[in-house]
């Protein structure tokens, strides 16, 4: 029987109401405490903050050996999974599904929190681009054209939406051919784009790299503008997120789609989707898009409400504040995906040992068993989730406060933050409600 290979099907229990309410109250209280007592001059400056990383560490990280070891490992892993995706069985014992939906999509969050821009370092398509440039003798940074500034992060936002659509809406997401097609297009778009615009294309268009680099700003590793490796607090590091067109869209897709994922697990939605004759793929597409649009519009409306200080354009304000939503997203991702990552992640590591379904044990993990400790301790799990959401909220509020000190004029530095604060409380309480209502 293939039972031993099934990916864990049970979902988390809803969090208890008391915990949800306690979390929401804490978020609300902390928000106003920050507003009332926090510093009145900007504290984080990406250009100067941080302590120089130990000599040995920066020498290691900056050495070409280290860089290429990571690059080749990333490329080898990509090739390994590609073989499974092309030649392996179209069944869930195939590790491709777990690698794409669990290790890549969810795993890049903890990896980036720990190591900074993790995906950038292992990005297999970036490596291919570097190798092509080496072969042709070209400069990988330079393409045939300069990427126009207005493009910003919009390609990444579109790529992220395409991925979450595949994951959360497309009914055949767990068959191999749609995944192969998706990644074939992904590789093609990145290779062509990087040939046209140079390697900056990856920083603007690769959904996984953009996501990972954003989350990596919550790690302790950063670089100053001259490239020096520094250690600094996640909040100081977050200040270094380059604002640009489309950044609001990126955070909106990330947050909106995850909220949608919780929403569609609610029993009421299940009952509705099973009793309606509407085409559910379209309905789900529209609802997911709606979630993303609500996030984007509320963030935009709340940030343009206050007039900025001189020298800052009002229309740039949403992008200048978008970084502060990143901790809220990460907190919610942790809450939403923790069990899934831990349990299905273990399952994927087991499956990776037998990529072609031939009974092989290439990595020695095939006989492993999934540890379900986390599912078996629902109270611990629920408390962890609420703590993650509240922590994310607090970091987000502090980041927004510091940015307000920088871009809002003195006379309404505090009142100017209020709309965004209200929106953040709304995000967090909605998130807790979804965790409670699932």
């Amino acid at each position: 029987m293939v039972f031993a290979h099934g990916v864990g099907g049970a979902q988390d229990l809803p969090i208890p109401a008391e915990l949800a309410i306690a979390g929401a109250s804490a978020a609300l209280a902390v928000s106003f405490i920050v507003l009332a007592v926090a510093w009145r001059t900007p504290r984080y400056d990406a250009a100067t903050s941080g302590r120089r990383a130990p000599e040995r560490l920066s020498r290691l990280v900056d050495s070409p050996y280290f860089e290429w070891t990571l690059r080749l490992l990333g490329l080898a892993f990509f090739a390994y999974v590609a073989v499974a995706a092309v030649f392996g069985p179209d069944l869930l014992v195939n590790p491709t599904f777990g690698v794409v939906y669990v290790l890549l999509w969810v795993g890049l969050v903890p990896a980036s929190l720990l190591f900074g821009p993790f995906y950038k370092a292992v990005n297999p398509v970036r490596t291919l681009h570097l190798l092509f440039s080496l072969l042709t003798g070209g400069d990988p940074k330079r393409g045939m054209y300069d990427l126009p500034r207005w493009v910003g992060y919009w390609p990444a936002a579109a790529g992220l939406f395409a991925f979450v659509w595949l994951e959360l809406v497309y009914p055949d997401a767990t068959y191999l051919s749609p995944i192969r097609l998706w990644f074939a297009v992904y590789v093609a778009v990145l290779l062509v784009g990087s040939a046209l615009f140079g390697s900056v294309w990856f920083e603007r268009a690769d959904p996984f790299e953009v996501y990972s680099t954003l989350v990596g700003h919550l790690s302790v590793f950063g670089r100053r503008e001259d490239g020096m490796l520094v250690l600094r607090s996640p909040l100081a590091n977050l200040d270094a997120v380059p604002a640009g067109p489309g950044l609001v869209a990126v955070v909106s897709v990330l947050f909106g789609s995850t909220a949608f994922d919780s929403f569609k697990d609610m029993n009421a939605w299940l009952q509705f989707s099973q009793s309606t004759s509407l085409p559910m793929t379209w309905v789900n597409t529209l609802v997911m898009l709606g979630f993303c649009v609500v996030v984007g519009l509320s963030l935009t409306a709340a940030t343009v409400a206050a007039a900025p200080r001189e020298g800052v354009r009002r229309s740039d304000l949403p992008a200048l504040f978008a970084h502060s939503v990143v901790p809220i997203i990460v907190g919610y991702m942790v809450a939403h995906y923790l069990t899934y990552f831990v349990e299905s992640g273990q399952q994927t590591l087991i499956q990776l040992s037998d990529p072609l379904g031939t009974g092989a044990n290439l990595l020695g993990t095939a006989d492993g068993e999934v540890n379900y400790w986390l599912s078996a301790h629902p109270t611990f799990l629920a408390v962890t989730k609420v703590l993650a959401v509240v922590t994310g909220h607090v970091l987000g509020v502090v980041a927004a406060h510091d940015r307000a000190m920088k871009v809002l004029p003195k006379r309404h530095q505090l009142t100017g933050q209020l709309p965004l604060l209200v929106v953040m409380v709304f995000y967090t309480i909605t998130g807790l409600y979804l965790l409670f209502g699932a």
Partner: protein, 144 residues
């Protein structure tokens, strides 16, 4: 995402587990869908286990009607306790397969006519029970 992955898990299971060489798989003696070391055990028995005082725990008995593509209930959420058996009383006009999306997965075979099955989930969580042919989630167990 969890539900989609789970659905495919069972699709995989159905493809490999219920291949052409297997009969229509409706016989009573198929509790063999689970291996002994599984945390959750599915079994099918003609009579409810006499050791359980199932009469007072009537909340743990679920009636299911299958009439072609029409299935009742649809997506109902039922609260149960971990480790306590749930009795399924099924009346069906066809053979059917109920996929239990616990971790790991379980399958209950349902034969034409009236039958009774029993299901136990050992760990807390939300577990979907899906009729395979239609993909309808018949009910969800909220296991505490």
């Amino acid at each position: 995402m969890r539900r989609a992955l789970a659905a495919a898990a069972v699709a995989a299971l159905a493809l490999t587990g219920c291949g052409s060489e297997e009969p229509a798989a409706t016989t009573e003696e198929t509790p063999a869908t689970s291996t002994p070391d599984e945390s959750a055990v599915a079994s099918e028995s003609p009579t409810p286990s006499p050791t359980e005082t199932s009469t007072d725990d009537s909340g743990y008995a679920i009636e299911i009607e299958i009439e072609g593509d029409r299935i009742e209930p649809r997506g109902k959420r039922i609260k149960v306790k971990a480790g306590e058996p749930v009795t399924l009383e099924v009346e069906s006009d066809r053979a059917a397969e109920l996929h239990v999306h616990s971790s790991p997965e379980q399958v209950l075979e349902v034969k034409k006519g009236e039958s009774t099955s029993s299901l136990t989930i050992d760990r807390p969580g939300i577990v979907d029970v899906e009729e395979h042919e239609t993909g309808i989630v018949v009910f969800q167990l909220e296991v505490r």
